[in-house]
Symmetry: C2
Subunit: 121 residues, 2 copies
DNA sequence: CGCGACCGACTACACATGTAGTCAATAAGG
DNA sequence: CCTTATTGACTACATGTGTAGTCGGTCGCG
């Protein structure tokens, strides 16, 4: 699967949230703090089309864009890549790391324990 | 902290493993499948120096390079960034995702449960 | 039917990154 | 001492990315 750059990812998020959308609609929904003009969003859309991670259908004179890959699949690939790189492909060190870094609240711990218990049954 | 590109990261790994090292020594230790020449490694080293994530000390006519940031800190930042982006900053969905994607073996589950139990006490 | 708003295509440009070559200086070895 | 191997500095260049402008065509409104 093609890599999706950080900025492009913001556009994908919009379309994973709701699709199909026109370019203008996507621009409206991109987080305001990006400060992008419509032109910038259009560039992103073309590039994502070229990468094959977006699809488009003609709607009169415009395009309607929609994701061509599932968010779930992309996230799987990307998070897997990070785990391979930084945690040698092992998940436990990642969890240990998160715990040590206080990214795990007591509630998280409860939730994860429940999740794991469910997994075992 | 400055971002470290994918290729540059490979150089950092070498120096986190052992430091200080000369450029030639780093080149020797970079995973062979990168297929990098010494020149390429030197470019990486300069860029990492410029980014401030490496430090160097003079050793005669050469430099000895060593990390200026801790691997732990970098990994914390990078993994945090990913969790923020893809899992809205929540850890539980990440673990759920890993579970659903079969990245969790039964042994992982055992280990993580033990880890969490230890955390609670 | 004519004009203005809007659309995608194309162009632009700076900076990052992967990948490597050149070169002047110098240390080391004979 | 003189040659040679080595070193960091600098240069090079293609591709990716962030950010945006221009332009020819066309749809809708009056």
């Amino acid at each position: 699967m093609e890599r999706i750059a950080e900025g492009e990812y913001a556009v994908m998020e919009v379309l994973w949230e709701k699709a199909p959308l026109t370019a203008a609609e996507v621009a409206d929904r991109v987080p305001a703090d990006r400060g992008w003009t419509l032109a910038t969003v259009k560039t992103m859309l073309s590039r994502l089309l070229a990468k094959g991670v977006l699809a488009h259908e003609q709607d009169g004179r415009r395009y309607l864009y929609r994701p061509a890959i599932r968010r779930e699949d992309y996230v799987a690939e990307e998070s897997g890549r990070m785990i391979d790189r930084m945690f040698a492909g092992r998940v436990t060190p990642l969890v240990a790391h998160l715990a040590a870094r206080d990214r795990l609240t007591p509630e998280d711990i409860e939730e994860i324990e429940a999740l794991l218990k469910a997994l075992k049954s």
